[in-house]
């Protein structure tokens, strides 16, 4: 019985002891859990901090390198672009340009053909391209109105041999504007004025001297490494003003020496001397001396500031021409000159000043005699203003007063518009 009571008590209290034991275990477990939670929380905070730090670093690195990793929008010009495909296919065609020269000419000289009239003075068609690896070709056709009819003529058409075996040598064959001074080489549309200087028209004709022939130019080596170019040309004697004219079978010989110096990076000087010699009758001395010798000097100063060169520039250009023309038989109706040489000369001095991106003012003084009429003289004073709408279109107004000792004085005003289409090759400096 006693055993039974003890067993009963044990059975009765075991759960109580067990409950006590479980309670302490739970408390212990809870403590452990709290500790774990605390540790976990610390670790979490620690890891979160570290993760945040790493994310910041990654972001920094991404900022640094993401720009480099960007895919370029369009790449490689080596591949023909679809947009320039037309140009690609046309690349074997020459560059073709059309340049219009439109004027209104008001003058008090009554016998002028286009007096107080609008005039499409000239349309130039230009074709330029490489011929092969050794040469390039240039053609300039001029369409002009004469006596009511339109005519097209070849102003220039020549081949330039660019790579001759002698270093510094270049040659040209075809019809070209001869290398005499500066202004003779200009085309109408790239004159800095509306008209050619009187010296050019009086000694070479309305648009200067352009003849078929051959030309060779050589860069003269020199210890200063400066640009010094010697040009020799032989052309047909078809200029009828100073030389014999189209009936002649003779040739004219020309030489030109050009020296160019940089005063500094903004200013340059170009000096040139020219010589042209040829018969003026084509009679081969049958009636005595019949040679014409023309000598020219040119001096050009140019200034364009480096930084503001789009807005300001200045050109001061001067030329002198001397003529000795043998006239074995000259009859002006009153007297006969036999075996005499007529000495005459002409000159011009031009100043252009660009004072804004689109605006240039200019003035030119001309003095000129005539190769055949040495007593006749012209003094002319020109003033003008050019507005360059863009590189390819300009508007110009020019006033010119010409005093003549053989005719009435003249006052003339031109309005001019020059406009070009296509990739016309730039002109020489």
């Amino acid at each position: 019985m006693k055993k039974a009571i003890i067993l009963f008590i044990i059975i009765l209290f075991i759960p109580l002891f067990a409950a006590d034991a479980r309670g302490s275990e739970v408390a212990q477990l809870q403590q452990e859990m709290a500790a774990l939670r605390s540790q976990f929380s610390e670790m979490k905070m620690s890891y979160e901090t570290r993760i945040n730090q790493l994310e910041t670093k990654i972001e920094d690195i991404q900022k640094t390198y993401s720009i480099r990793a960007q895919t370029p929008q369009i790449t490689s010009p080596v591949q023909p672009q679809s947009t320039s495909l037309g140009r690609y296919f046309q690349s074997f065609n020459p560059d073709v340009s059309v340049i219009g020269d439109f004027t209104y000419h008001a003058t008090d000289r009554k016998n002028e053909e286009f007096r107080n009239q609008f005039q499409m003075r000239q349309t130039e068609l230009a074709f330029s391209a490489s011929v092969d690896p050794y040469a390039r070709g240039d053609f300039f056709f001029h369409i002009e109105q004469e006596n009511g009819d339109w005519h097209i003529g070849l102003c220039e058409g020549y081949l330039t041999l660019l790579t001759l075996p002698i270093e510094g040598l270049q040659a040209k064959a075809g019809k070209f504007k001869v290398e005499f001074g500066k202004a003779n080489k200009y085309h109408l549309h790239n004159l800095p004025w509306v008209d050619y200087p009187n010296m050019i028209t009086n000694y070479f004709g309305e648009e200067g001297m352009s003849e078929p022939g051959v030309s060779a130019s050589y860069l003269i080596p020199n210890p200063w490494n400066k640009y010094m170019e010697l040009t020799g040309q032989v052309v047909n004697n078809s200029n009828g003003v100073s030389f014999a004219g189209t009936d002649s079978k003779d040739l004219v010989y020309l030489g030109h020496l050009k020296a160019f110096f940089d005063i500094n990076e903004e200013s340059t000087v170009e000096a040139g001397s020219s010589l042209a010699v040829g018969s003026n009758t084509g009679s081969h001395g049958k009636f005595g001396k019949d040679m014409t010798a023309l000598e020219g000097l040119d001096l050009t100063y140019k200034w364009r500031p480096l930084q503001k060169g789009l807005y300001k520039s200045l050109t001061f250009q001067n030329e002198l021409l001397f003529s000795q023309k043998d006239r074995p038989y000259f009859d002006d109706g009153t007297d006969i000159i036999d075996g005499k040489t007529l000495n005459s000369w002409g000159a011009y001095s031009s100043l252009e000043y660009q004072f804004a991106k689109r605006w240039t003012a200019f003035g030119r003084y001309d003095f000129s005699e005539f190769p055949d009429y040495t007593k006749n003289r012209e003094n002319a004073y020109s003033l003008g203003l050019t507005f360059a709408q863009s590189e390819y279109c300009l508007w110009r107004v020019q006033f010119k007063r010409t005093n003549r000792n053989y005719d009435k004085d003249e006052n003339a005003v031109w309005l001019q518009c020059d406009f070009g289409l296509g990739p016309h090759r730039k002109h020489e400096y």
């Binding site: 490689s76 010009p77 947009t83 690896p133 660019l162 001759l164 940089d262 340059t268 789009l310 590189e391």
Partner: protein, 299 residues
């Protein structure tokens, strides 16, 4: 190519290199080191579109062994005249002595219209030629130059490669620095004078809101400036970025109307005294833009 190379018989250790811009000169000097003597036609102060084909430049071209151009018709107004006038066959297009630095560069603004004509202003049919203002393009230019120098002077191939490596390393360091400095301005809108800046803006995350030129190469007109002012006010544009060679008056007028800052920066090496080489050019641009944003932010 080998035949062509041998026919020129460079036969000397130092090459005369003529570049069209001072940026190309700077990169060529970095790669070529003492194996090259470099001269540039255009100066950093100049508008690189308009360079006179002076006969003295023909003499420089005559003496050149290697001619390096920006390409994309940037030099269309003078390059051909100078090369023709130089009578130097070595530097003619197609020969080893002529390098178009744009080979393989990232291009922007390649016209997408079927026809490109001058009604669009002074557009470049092959794409915007101001690519050198993206430092990543400068790396490609450096690679092109190193490759060509190695072709011409193969005995110095290792030297050029080492210099290229050093150039790339410095570019890595500077790029990180430029990116860090420009990062605060990412996504900010700017106005520009001429479209010289799309490459720089694209690389550093600036957004070009408008240009003072109505079309490339066409001077600002009063009517167009009114539109620019409206856009700048609407988009809260606070910077007008322009080159050193343009007239500041239109930009100052717009700035006065909008409260924006005019930031005049060189777009070529030599454009300011600080821009001594390619790295200092980008340094100068980055610093001036950052200063411009800071000033405009305070006002």
């Amino acid at each position: 190519m080998l035949l062509a190379m041998s026919s020129f018989a460079y036969g000397k250790d130092t090459l005369n290199v003529l570049t069209t811009t001072e940026d190309l000169k700077s990169i060529t000097e970095a790669i070529g080191g003492d194996k090259v003597k470099v001269d540039s036609l255009a100066k950093g102060l100049q508008d690189p579109h308009f360079v006179d084909a002076k006969p003295s430049f023909m003499m420089k071209a005559k003496n050149a062994d290697l001619f390096i151009r920006i390409g994309l018709e940037l030099e269309i107004g003078y390059e051909e005249l100078i090369i023709d006038g130089s009578r130097n066959q070595k530097i003619r297009i197609g020969n080893p002595g002529h390098l178009d630095a744009s080979e393989g560069v990232y291009l922007l603004e390649v016209p997408t219209t079927a026809k490109v004509d001058r009604s669009m202003g002074d557009v470049h049919p092959m794409g915007n030629p101001h690519y050198w203002l993206d430092p990543e393009n400068a790396r490609i230019v450096a690679r092109n130059i190193a490759g060509r120098l190695s072709e011409i002077l193969p005995e110095n191939d290792g030297y050029f490669k080492e210099n290229l490596k050093a150039f790339d390393k410095k570019m890595d360091e500077k790029t990180a620095e430029w990116n860090r400095k420009m990062a605060p301005f990412k996504g900010k809108k700017i106005a520009i004078y001429h479209r010289s800046w799309p490459y720089f803006a694209d690389r550093f995350g600036l957004v070009i809101a408008c240009e003072l030129e109505p079309k490339p190469g066409i001077p600002p007109s009063p009517g167009h400036l009114k539109e620019v002012i409206d856009i700048m006010k609407r988009d809260n544009v606070k910077i007008i970025l322009m080159e050193v060679f343009y007239d500041e008056k239109p930009a100052q007028f717009v700035a006065a109307q909008t409260g924006a800052e005019v930031v005049v920066v060189p777009n070529s090496v030599g454009g300011t005294k600080d821009a001594k080489d390619y790295f200092s050019l980008i340094d100068t641009i980055v610093e001036k833009i950052a200063a411009g944003f800071q000033v405009s932010g305070k006002e």
